[in-house]
Amino acid sequence: MVNFRRSAILAMALLFLPLLSSCVSVLSPTGWAPVVFDGDTVYVTTSNGHLSALKLERDTATALWTFPDENRDEDKKLDTKAIYGAPVVSGDRVYLASFQAGVFALRKEDGRPIWSSSSGNANKLDGDIPGGVALAGENLFFGTTEGLVYGWKQADGTPATGWEKPKRVAGGVWATPIVSGDHLIVATMDGGLHALSLADGSVRWSFDVSGAIAELTKISDEYLFVPSINRHAYIIRTKDGSVAGDFRAKDWIWTGAAVQGLKVYFGDFGGRVYGLDITNSGTVPIWREPASLSDERVKAGAAIVEDVVVVVDRAPVVSFISAKDGSVLNSVPLTDAGTVRANVVTRDGAAYIATTKGKLFRAEPAARKVVEIQLSGVKK
């Protein structure tokens, strides 16, 4: 009787498990690719792993094409899931890494794939792609969650010479690799930073930190900004992987940095924004105290226009911060926009913000205001 009763109770509890677990939501991939400009065309990704090319006019943008296109039978098989890395425009092509469907070379004109089958090329890959692609010469490079770095020919998506087999590094590769000279610099979630030869993938130097590195920003040909969830931001010399500076923040740092000369600006997950000067080696804080953004975490990389740093937190609230003293000049909440994780991108004296609801905003530092750009024709 007792066994029966307790088993029945346990069974009932299991039945209610999905109900309770709904109190604790676990997020599915949605992506956080920043917007990319090419002339008067802006490339925007949506939360369902779609890329749209839009013709941008002042406060409106009209879709030229969307990939994958739900109206095309051949695209219905594609499950990109999400796009995290910025698409790269080169010549008449757009190179795009999707989270689950692999890498595509699209025709800039109409967004149709030049290579990769209608079901993508994920079956050629081991792992998902939580970053973007990096172009170097005639090849493109990207990493996967399984710690593999692939080098493919831009022409046809076949393995590049010297990269017939992907190179394995310890830990998943989430950050978009960076090309510096004849090196491909790859960061791993095991806290490794490796410079691989573009010619054959051999390791030129390595640097290890104790926390995962999920983002990389190139400051100059000489320096890299390397944030880690161990709360440190490292300034690394690209030639040999030596540490030029090590700054400890108060929370996780998982964001790109706004760069102005040899000054960098970035936020942490505790809602603080820091400014560092690396001119004389080391990391010298520019402000006496970090700027504070109401404890909301900052995942989106900041942007700098003139002397104003534009930062968007998770709320999302756009903050205009003085680059000179770190004072908050103005804060503008974005309504019904989801959240913001994509790096903010500057163009023509404005900063562009893509949200998880597929909306696009233009922040104007001079006027300290934010304007929504009305998108039309976007297939989500």
């Binding site: 029966f4 346990l10 309770l20 677990s21 991939p29 999920a214 997950f269």
Partner: protein, 291 residues
């Protein structure tokens, strides 16, 4: 609101404990789950022991409960007599299910904790930051290694052949657990019901395991295995000639009487057994109360 309280009290400590254990065990999340399960079982061992004794007490008075059921047709009177029997023998049916009540929130929190601690998307790792305490030792442990013995602990049971292995293990350990647990009822109908449940429950849990992350199934398998060990220690394995190692606690008067003189128990009520000529109602009085 409920979600926030659940996170604060149970989920966040559990996520952090799992991350801590994982780092201590060489960044193996699988070993962390196993260690966590054993820790929980050790911490709740006093309760388990109480449950074992309570089950034995219940088992001991079953013949007498049967007798009471036969003897009194009035449900109210029957209930009174059974309760009296429980009181006198020191048995408490609820104490048998106490550890199970404790297990339910732990299981639910673990289910959520594994989904949170092993993020399946970059967004989920970002969100994990809000669950992790600010200790650098924990921060350095992230992200966790999601593989254990070649199994991806994030994936569901139905996602791979490895997942089906766990589904089978969940069903098998649940079945063995129920088979090694002593049946406390002597009622034939209840026995049949229990036999059916002994088959249905493993199947049901195996079905649930299809949609659970393998980490949760690993917890289930380890937990069931530990329970099987307890059962063998407590009840022995008669089929293999293994005697119980944990001896029965000295039972209260009524129970001891029932154990030593079942024949008496068959023909007497609880109070009559304690005080044969006491102030309890006689059979005649009882008959008068019948409708």
């Amino acid at each position: 609101m409920i979600g926030e309280i659940f996170s604060l009290i149970l989920l966040n400590p559990l996520v952090n404990l799992l991350v801590l254990l994982s780092h201590l065990f060489g960044d193996s999340f699988g070993l962390a789950i196993i260690a966590f399960t054993i820790l929980i079982r050790v911490a709740t061992f006093p309760l388990t022991l109480r449950q074992i004794h309570a089950t034995r007490s219940m088992q001991a008075i079953q013949p007498r409960i049967q007798e009471v059921n036969k003897k009194y047709s009035d449900p109210k009177r029957r209930q009174e007599e059974v309760m009296k029997l429980y009181r006198e023998s020191g048995a408490n049916p609820l104490s048998c299910i106490g550890p199970f009540f404790l297990q339910i929130p732990i299981f639910m929190a673990l289910y959520s904790a594994i989904r949170i601690a092993l993020p399946n998307s970059p967004e989920a790792l970002e969100k994990l930051s809000s669950h992790i305490y600010g200790w650098s030792y924990l921060q350095h442990a992230l992200p966790l290694e999601e593989h254990f013995l070649g199994f991806d602990l994030r994936s569901n049971g139905e996602a791979s052949i490895a997942g089906y292995i766990f589904v089978v293990l969940v069903g098998a350990t649940t079945w063995i657990q129920s088979k090694t647990t002593v049946t406390t009822t002597t009622d034939e109908r209840m026995k049949q019901q229990q036999q059916m449940m002994n088959i249905m429950l493993p199947l049901m849990f195996a079905f649930f395991a299809l949609s659970f992350p393998l980490g949760v199934s690993l917890y289930w398998v380890v937990n069931s295995s530990v329970q099987i060990g307890f059962n063998i220690l407590t009840y022995g394995l008669p089929a293999f000639g293994i005697e119980p190692l944990v001896k029965a606690r000295t039972a209260p008067v009524g129970t001891q009487a029932a154990l030593s003189a079942p024949e008496v128990a068959v023909t007497t009520s609880a109070r009559e057994l304690r005080t044969p000529n006491g102030s309890g109602r006689s059979k005649r009085q009882n008959r008068r109360r019948r409708p």
